[in-house]
Subunit: 616 residues, 2 copies
């Protein structure tokens, strides 16, 4: 906790409010400060502003009035009375950063915990897509997630998840149709419809997909895109529907094509997919208004150690991009794309969300002002921000919906032969999933199965393990809801891993060398209300609790990172590849990416888009 920043608290209360746009009283105060009738609440003098409008770096004084910037004038041009003065001594000023596309759930923490870790890095708001929460808990879950933003010194903009469930070959915790999306779009912090991942459906002209566009457009909000590799006529068809952006470009030519076709191109630098270096040539003055920076998915340790959307700004500058344009891509461009009111610039009438950057080349953020308050400095949140975040988190935790989200792992009976796989006729091969290293894609093998007592079993010597996807949302009929198969390449010599994170349906994913270990791990996940669990064959040896919807922790990110490290070590001790093994496991149920998957319905041949039997 940064200690030096509670000076302004006494004066702030006058206009403190959680509203997304200023009140008339706030406007009157800002106008009076600019005109010189009232003292500024805070005067930042002698800074060098990265002006996203002029594209220039300008020496300025900035007068803050309540939550707003009242005036930005040439340094020394006008005397300002002020309740608090800070001499920036030539440091740079930049607008607070805004990340245009984030799945917070990938960082395994709540919005409050996320805000706490990214605010010191200069990130004052994000547009998040709670796709995972929606798959577990539907509209109620998304509403609670939105409520997690209430009172935070951080803008939790949200897009309405558009593709829940991802396929009909699984049973997620909920469905979101056009009516639910329309319902969510009425929330003032819901700024659009989230990435329309079913791009084949859009290109095919499916009425259900086009209706989502029409609903968003009727609400005056955006529809975001997701079209990896789409080109030519198919890309034109996708955009013709009215999709406004894409964040899945992995090649420069793809970025150029999408930008020219009118898409706002969001350059992504996540934990796994890293596109910045490839796409950086898109950021030139000629196109600079059509590019945004996003992180999409960041693992907890990357978020903590490396950073969030500030990583892209820093690396873009290092890559030779004019710092004003690098900052624009993570502020004004994104704010304008989503029509975020009075965000994304340091200018009169804008919310006073700004950064003091003492080393522009390295983009080292010294202090962060959010809505006119110091929320971070020297790499940590201020005491005030810490308290505000804790209060917001507490209020969210006390909501009835929070209790419901904690009971989200409801398993069927796994005793007896529930996890048993009957042997195929003698001499027949069976299908086996094999995840490709470092990718989300799997390949489908056909192997002679290890057999024992008329059952297919694991054989660690051949690196074959049993794999199960167990319905955990309480929505499957008795005797159904367990998909079984074999997986190769996971490396475990014994024991089992269990995860309540299982994309996108988030049923319980289980892998193991024996049924007893798998059952123990599954039971432990259920006891935790969700999480990652490692069983070494004799008992539970490591775990990360993810009690909220079985997806995210209720602890600070430092605790999550520490627990994950313990889980990693335990997995490695069993022969597996640490946390990669759990991430790999969480994607083995993703029935929209080739080739073979297991959902709670059974084995899925993704290319054929149908359930298949074990026998190859």
């Amino acid at each position: 906790v940064y200690a030096g920043a509670t000076m302004q608290d006494a004066s702030f209360g006058r206009s403190g409010t959680d509203a997304l746009t200023p009140t008339v009283d706030e406007l009157r105060h800002a106008v009076a400060v600019a005109a010189g009738r009232s003292p500024a609440d805070l005067l930042l003098s002698g800074g060098r502003l990265l002006n996203v409008f002029s594209g220039l770096v300008e020496p300025v004084d900035v007068a803050v009035a309540g939550r707003l910037v009242a005036a930005v004038l040439p340094a020394g041009a006008a005397p300002f009375a002020a309740l608090e003065r800070v001499d920036l001594a030539g440091a740079h000023l930049a607008p607070g950063l805004i990340d245009g596309h984030v799945h917070i759930e990938s960082s395994l923490v709540t919005p409050a915990a996320y805000a706490r870790v990214v605010l010191p890095r200069g990130v004052v708001g994000i547009v998040n897509d709670p796709h995972e929460i929606a798959n577990v808990a539907g509209v109620d879950g998304v509403r609670w997630w939105l409520a997690c933003g209430d009172g935070l010194p951080f803008d939790l903009w949200t897009t309405a998840p558009s593709c829940v469930p991802s396929t009909q070959l699984e049973t997620a915790g909920a469905e979101l149709g056009v009516d639910e999306i329309r319902d969510l779009l009425a929330h003032p912090r819901v700024v659009g419809v989230a990435e329309l991942m079913s791009f084949p459906g859009v290109v095919d002209g499916e009425a259900a997909q086009l209706a989502k566009v029409a609903v968003a457009e009727g609400a005056g909000k955006s529809v975001e895109g997701h079209a990896p590799g789409l080109t030519g006529r198919d890309l034109q068809a996708y955009l013709a529907a009215g999709i406004g952006s894409d964040h899945e470009c992995t090649r420069l030519a793809e970025g150029v094509e999408k930008l020219a076709a009118g898409a706002f191109v969001m350059i992504r630098e996540g934990s796994v997919t890293r596109d910045l270096d490839t796409l950086l040539p898109l950021v030139t003055p000629r196109h600079a208004d059509r590019v945004g920076f996003v992180t999409d998915d960041r693992l907890p340790h990357d978020l903590l150690d490396e950073g969030a959307v500030d990583v892209l700004v820093r690396r873009a500058i290092a890559g030779g991009v004019d710092p004003v344009y690098a900052v624009r891509c993570a502020s004004w461009n994104t704010a304008r794309h989503y029509r975020l009111p009075r965000r994304g610039a340091v200018a009169p009438g804008f919310f006073a969300d700004l950064l003091v950057v003492d080393d522009l080349a390295r983009f080292r953020v010294q202090r962060v002002l959010k809505h006119g308050r110091w929320v971070a400095g020297a790499g940590a949140t201020t005491a005030w921000a810490e308290a505000a975040i804790a209060a917001a988190a507490g209020a969210a935790e006390r909501m009835p919906a929070a209790a419901a989200l904690r009971g989200s792992v409801r398993l069927p009976d796994l005793e007896g032969s529930a996890l048993a796989i009957a042997a195929p006729p003698a001499g027949r091969r069976v299908r086996v999933l094999r995840p490709l290293p470092g990718q989300v894609v799997t390949e489908a093998l056909a192997v002679m199965p290890p057999l024992r007592d008329g059952e297919v079993v694991a054989d660690p010597d051949r690196d074959l393990l049993k794999l199960a996807c167990v319905h955990r949302h309480g929505r499957s009929a008795p005797g159904t809801g367990i998909g079984l198969g074999l997986v190769a390449g996971m490396g475990l010599r014994r024991g089992a891993l269990a995860s309540s994170v299982g994309h996108d349906h988030h049923n319980l994913m289980l892998v193991g060398a024996d049924d007893a270990s798998m059952r123990r791990a599954a039971r432990r996940v259920a006891e935790l209300g969700g999480g990652f669990v490692v069983d070494d064959g004799d008992g539970i040896v490591a775990e990360l609790a993810l009690p909220i919807a079985g997806l995210v922790s209720d602890a600070p990110i430092e605790r999550v990172v520490a627990d994950l490290a313990a889980v990693d070590a335990a997995v490695r001790a069993l022969g597996g590849s640490g946390s990669d093994a759990l991430m790999t496991l969480s994607f083995l149920g993703l029935a929209v990416i080739p080739a073979l998957r297991v959902t709670d319905h059974g084995l899925v041949d993704v290319v054929a888009a149908r359930l298949v039997g074990l026998e190859a």
Copy 2:
């Protein structure tokens, strides 16, 4: 009427609609055309597109589906089946032009007549501010004006007039308060609150002004600015309120300051105020997204002979601006500023509003496509567009509100001594207005008055004429509503001029050498329901009827221009300066610009902001 363009009519009906955003059926059709499942309704091949996103000129084929662009692909990249094909043979393609700020009333015609004259110039939509109509007819008048856009092959975007009346020292036909503005903002074609002209009120923090901002923001719409010469802290205060633009810059430094402070700077080239040459250096790639082009006010003959917002594009190109950026300032930039859905670019999913330009250097518009239909070619509207405009105008004319607007000139009794000015005590000077040539400003003189029979009278030998402002909205008490005075510099040797256009209240403005001529001219204006009338001392010798609200003609612009020419000639024959005399007269009641004015309340000292007596 351009003859060559009804080919597409047969296929158009499928998706013809007046909706501002596409229906799901229209989307499905566009997606199907792009993907190759359906033939395009129109294929434009071999054009060179001015791409407002990439900033480049690109050889392309454009497939149109109903009202929408379905696909824009590299020339020859994909075969398209099409119901109609046009080979552009290397001509340029540009998005249809959009003018960001227009008072149509200054052109003395209806929206339909305005559309008819500007469509062949490539202008497919405007953001108009019906400030004059609002002053005469309030919300009902604005609603009718909006209805004039229904069915037009032209986008009549509208901003809600923000300052009606302009002052409390006049009685206009109506008042528009915050409630009326909120009401208008609910209309889907009302895109914001119009120029907040009372910038001193904003800078002073007047609650009434700030409430207009809050209402617009609550509706997710913009608030436009009007702040001539405002700089420094006052400018910051004005923008701090949340004003998003300005179109009153007359100096480059003013434009630079406003742009850097976050205002969208609209460069204006009207009939009187011409700022383009001065401000053109603002249009560079570094700021090019923050500049728009507007005409504000264009006189009928300028609109007909010189053009509309196309004038700015043409002159910007001639001035050395990259044509793609010149076009952007009159299309995408403006569309994005106002959040006009799917307008301002030629790209998949955008409305098919585009221009074929056969000479880029001179920006000569060959053909114009609006919502997928050919609406103009070779300088004239197509037969289809002509019919559509006539139908829309007819429908507007049949609305009950239209009849009410035709009865808008209701004069008090002007017989007897109604126009008489009692002589001041002997030897006392009186106040005299003198308009400064070529400006809207007047100066206040103090002269010994011409007297006869105990009355102040005109004396053409001294170039002193009687001036009256007669309330004409039926809202003044009996015996009140006539302001009287003397004016110098109008040049008439005899007779009288009358105008029902009288900024901003639009009471009847009268100037003359004798009361009988003034009465005849006034009566004739009332008979016409509004207009400009010239009486030569013996009777009416020329007139332009402006029967709609006393502000605009119901005739085509060619007729208006011809009638104005006759009025000009008649005024010149009397010693005056032609149509300038009527324009000058129409501004003599503008009680917000120094120094001396006459309203229906009497003489106004604008600087002191109060009514004053005749005696100096």
